[in-house]
Symmetry: C2
Subunit: 529 residues, 2 copies
Amino acid sequence: MIGKSIIGFSRAASNGRTFNAVDPSTGHNLEPAFHFASSEEVNLAVRLAAEAFETYGRATGRQKGILLSKIAANIEDISDDLVVRASQETALPPARIKNEIARTCNQLRLFAELVEEGSWVDARIDCGDPTRTPLPKPDVRSMLRPLGPVVVFCASNFPLAFSVAGGDTASALATGNPVIVKAHHAHPGTAQLVGLALSRAVRECDLPEGVFSLIYGPGSDVGTQLVQHPSIKAGGFTGSRTGGSALMQAAANRPEPIPFYAEMSSVNPVFILASALRDQTEAIANGLAASVTLGAGQFCTNPGLVFIPDVGSEEFIARMSALMAAASPFTMLTSTICSAYREGTMALNANARVRLVSAGQSGIQDAAARASLFETDANSFLEDRSLCTEVFGPATLLIKYSSRAQLIACARSLEGQLTATIHGDEAELNHSNDLVGILEQKAGRVIFNGFPTGVEVGHAMVHGGPFPATSDGRSTSVGTRAGLRFTRPVCYQDFLDSALPDELKDGNPLGIWRLIDGDMTRASLTVAV
Amino acid sequence: MIGKSIIGFSRAASNGRTFNAVDPSTGHNLEPAFHFASSEEVNLAVRLAAEAFETYGRATGRQKGILLSKIAANIEDISDDLVVRASQETALPPARIKNEIARTCNQLRLFAELVEEGSWVDARIDCGDPTRTPLPKPDVRSMLRPLGPVVVFCASNFPLAFSVAGGDTASALATGNPVIVKAHHAHPGTAQLVGLALSRAVRECDLPEGVFSLIYGPGSDVGTQLVQHPSIKAGGFTGSRTGGSALMQAAANRPEPIPFYAEMSSVNPVFILASALRDQTEAIANGLAASVTLGAGQFCTNPGLVFIPDVGSEEFIARMSALMAAASPFTMLTSTICSAYREGTMALNANARVRLVSAGQSGIQDAAARASLFETDANSFLEDRSLCTEVFGPATLLIKYSSRAQLIACARSLEGQLTATIHGDEAELNHSNDLVGILEQKAGRVIFNGFPTGVEVGHAMVHGGPFPATSDGRSTSVGTRAGLRFTRPVCYQDFLDSALPDELKDGNPLGIWRLIDGDMTRASLTVAV
């Protein structure tokens, strides 16, 4: 492993500034040192990407599917090395890293299937009519096309599934966009291993080198340069609200604004209705404590707010309290994330309207965090908006409500969320249309009797939600709909059949689903007589 | 007709400031005076819209279809009055207004059909598997849902089809969003007539009054207030780059940024290849002159740049010159638009690298404009970026190229466009993959052997394009895809069937197309054994 950026098929390290990854469980530096990319190296990566787009943007679904499958296979080949390095860099247990490798490869293969099948392009044909009066009706056809080079920022909390070859990269590559990845400073070695596997796949597929580059450097510098570069056409980011908002603004304030998909901040409220509290106390407390502490609470979907009925909540709280108190200390991803977590829990501790119910065991490392359970009441929650702030880590805040009206008021007061969850029995859920109606306006995903962590990767998943959960609530960063973020519809009027993309040709050579004169069909186009 | 805003089912005029429409063909004021809405009236309209969204956002496709059809019928009922008033306010001929009324009603009915059929919601179901290990697989379903109250700005150049009940309003209402329309100061009376017809339809359908309001007032004031209001969730605009950019920034800089769809500026390049110049001189010159001068050139799709081969262009230029010189003077929509047109043509006249080929007849009114034909060469075009600026009106600039490389360089140099057109014979078009490849990155619609004016309203149309053609190149403002602008996917995990929207219920009661485990089908969901 050498500490250099991957610029197309070359390695670059003209900049003398370097940084090292840190093992969060020891606080010690890990070798090698990684060079920040220079401004020229960043520009070269973008130029190569723009050149590659001219061919890769027109690659067939089959070609892109082979690339994605090859990337997955290459990652599996280095799985053992990845487990070692990623565990060192993140303090996440090897079993979690193995799961994340599997998820990453599954995502890549799901997108490979999607583009090999091909119907995702939303092909539409409105047949012409030369005999129409007063003017002939033109033949109009359209489909989704890639935007162009995309910059992807690795996420601290998903060293694989939302990093170099993660969901953003897979969805951008699947839909025909070259990708430039900005590595996360917390796991540069993991990024390098995956980056080399990805770059090898590009070469093995005889695709142009600019299809992929991996850049090291600080987000405030290299990241901003990438977002502002005129040849970059979109961006994907998973991280903090501060970082995401700054990049959103940079993207919006360009001479040519570009879409920037930042997945930022969510407290994932859980609403426990009276029937659930009555019948499912133990199961919900167990499930919730596990969800709050999973991965040291370092998930975007971590349940940070739990609304419970005031009456009858003693047993539930006692159970949650015991579970959280018994939790071993957690080593967080970085000492910075751990400091932010400590500040967040200290702010709750210092809030006169909030009570610390219990805390887990403490550790000695810089990056060691204790699980924390807090409680407050609905009136306090409604009056103090600071209680909605995400505390990233293994903490949650119970909010006791004394009436349905209070519950509804709390739901209405929320900002945009990735998820919202309701626990209740069948009768009570069926009488919660009002709550469901509010929550589907607030969140990308509404869950019955489950827990928000564990995001299923499929066609129907929505991992998105109104601002500030994401920069653009019209999108998802997980599941096959994620590819749509990096596309735009392009229309072809009165084209020769031979000049049309295969997806729009009369004969439907790819056999895809198309909307012909408003009707969904896989048939070829029969010529009107 | 009374000069007051329509706030839900009430009329409002608490503000003393008024303005009058002007007949551009006489310069005289038209009665009555229209009151600017007060800030309180604007807030009331938004509050009503937010309240209405709680029910209208969950209205069925059938209910929304009936509303849209009723709006169309109510507009047809007042067609005669509309023709008189709209012609007075815009100087557009009655025949054009009649056509625009027909297009407006067709658009409304197309959206009615779309939502009554229902498959547009992109329903997706990934079936659960309780037996999966290590964790059960949840049942995940998702579909598109409305964003919330939308503000729509009327377009100066489409008093009907892109104004009160135009494409933006139809697409927002169809997808479940209440609409607040800001009238254009050039045609407030037309807005009022249509607004009353629309408001009557809302009442006739027993829908909440906040589904629709119509507001008078300056864009810089009332318009900005609307875009910045926290309860407004999206905006639609057709107009100048200056106005659109200001509103885009206002939308992006809100505490909660919202999508803002501005259709702004396009010069709609036309590329004439050698074979077309050779074989189709007369047909192309005739078609082009008609397209440039149609509606006094006041179309977003007006062809403002025409690239022609240097060699053999004399006859084509002579023909175009004669046609443009013979054009009668045009009365433009407003004296402001006409002044801007005169400034634009004067700037071309004053440019040493541009030659005025011919000018049409001149008129005496303030708003009278002459057709103008200019020419330059490709080198000048490539060196002077001011030649890409849109001149809104009946003018076009011929650019003579002397090589294929120059043609390609010109294409590459363009900003984002609504349309791009290529004229050539079959052999030459089939050898123009390079040009098509560039243009499909630059434009929303690429046309073979046609003219960009005349936007067919259907399922496949794309009236959009990369910035600055629009604020968001991922969208179209014409055709059924336009509705997607005002939606976001919402996901339901492990929901009770009874609590799901009909579109996602097991039995598929609406009979819509759905993606079940990745396969497109209209079947109901068979329970896995």
